[in-house]
Every structure is written in structure tokens, then in C-alpha cells.
């Protein structure tokens, strides 16, 4: 797929930012995104190449502005929806729940 992930030869992103002592995760949600992706991979509803393709299918503008684990989360949501394990609506409702401060 000729998606935004196929970056070879593209200009304009500026120099690569090499962080010294780069942490494995830059935020706590990344730790969870990684864990859920691994756990769902072990569930066996899709293979590694299907999960790569799911990330490649992200909206190109979103992909280019997103971080590494945003790509993971995006791909995971797509796989969960395509395999019928979750619906788009269920994900949207959960996001809305979490965005609402507890009364």
C-alpha cells in the first residue's frame, strides 16, 4: 500500500531527534497501548503482518503527525473493529466516558 508509512525519500521532516537516554515509554498510556497490543496479538485473531497493514491504513495526515504508539493504538482499534471484537460506537462511547470527569 502506498501509504504515509512509506517515508523513504520524503523531505521536510527536519533532522532526526536523537534523545539521549531515551525512555522506553514517553507517557503512561503508551505502556498500556503496548501491553494491550501484545495481549491481543496473543489472542490470535490476526497475525503480525495483518497488524502492520492495519497501521499502514491509518489516515495519512494523522499518521504523519502521530507518534509511534499512536500508530499502534490506531492499528489496534482498526483490527478490533474489523474482527468484530469491538464496534466503532463502543470505542467512541468508552472514549467519551473517560473524557467525562467523574461526578
Amino acid at each position: 500500500m502506498n501509504g504515509a508509512h512509506d517515508l523513504g525519500g520524503m523531505h521536510g521532516f527536519g533532522p532526526i531527534d536523537n534523545e539521549g537516554d531515551e525512555p522506553i515509554f514517553h507517557a503512561d498510556w503508551e505502556r498500556r497501548a503496548f501491553a494491550i497490543t501484545l495481549a491481543m496479538g496473543a489472542y490470535g485473531a490476526w497475525n503480525l503482518d495483518q497488524s502492520r497493514f492495519a497501521r499502514e491504513c491509518s489516515d495519512p495526515a494523522h499518521y504523519l503527525s502521530g507518534s509511534y504508539y499512536e500508530h499502534w493504538l490506531d492499528g489496534l482499534e482498526r483490527l478490533l473493529i474489523e474482527s468484530g471484537l469491538l464496534s466503532e460506537q463502543e470505542i467512541a462511547e468508552r472514549v467519551a466516558d473517560l473524557a467525562t470527569p467523574a461526578a
Partner: protein, 127 residues
Amino acid sequence: MPVLTAKQVEPELRRGSSTRMAVDVDPRFRVGDEVITRKMNPRGHTRLPRYARGRRGIVVRDHGVFIFPDRHAADGLKTPQRLYSVRFSHHELWGPNHDRPDVTRAGFPPINASIFLDLFDEYLESL
């Protein structure tokens, strides 16, 4: 329902996993063969990047037989295919402009640089 427990995670990640297949497939290419990559624009997954399509290179290593990822991503089928390391000259992939002094100052590799890509059998044709 398969469940990944916390105890399994570290050994699983340390062990890693390989997509090598224990089947033999006759190689279509030998080390030293000149090849040209296919011009293709598949809607599905592929490991042949756009910048390396329709480019000439030389087979430098035969890695053996692996699951063909394009098919594996499409319908989950594990079809065996040979994987080769192919060397491309920087010039072949990026053209002659990169050796302009103003461009080399910007951090481009020297004119004689090579790029090695691991490519599956059906991405390649004989030259």
C-alpha cells in the same frame, strides 16, 4: 481463548519469533545475479518500498525461505517464499544529484554508497 499472562511476557519477548519456514523452495536467483524490482502499486501490504520499485540491483545473499508477508497480511495464508538481500547503488535509487557539493554537505552519503534491502522472490525479475 488464548491468554497472555504477565509471567509469559518477558520470556516470549526475549525469545522473539521468526517467520522462517521449514520448507524448501528452489531459488530463482543466485548470489551475483543482476535483478530488477517489479513496478507495482498493491493496495495491500508489501515490503517493497516505493523508492526501490523498477530499480536494478545485485543479489548478495540468499536468506532462505520465509512466510510471504504480502499474502500473510491479505488473507492469513502462510505461503513460503525465498528472501534475498539485494544491493542497490545509491545512484540507482536516488539519481546523480546527491553528489552536488551543496547536497553532500547536507548529510547525504557519498556517491559510491550502497543500500541493501531484504526482498522477496516475487518482487524481483532477472535482468
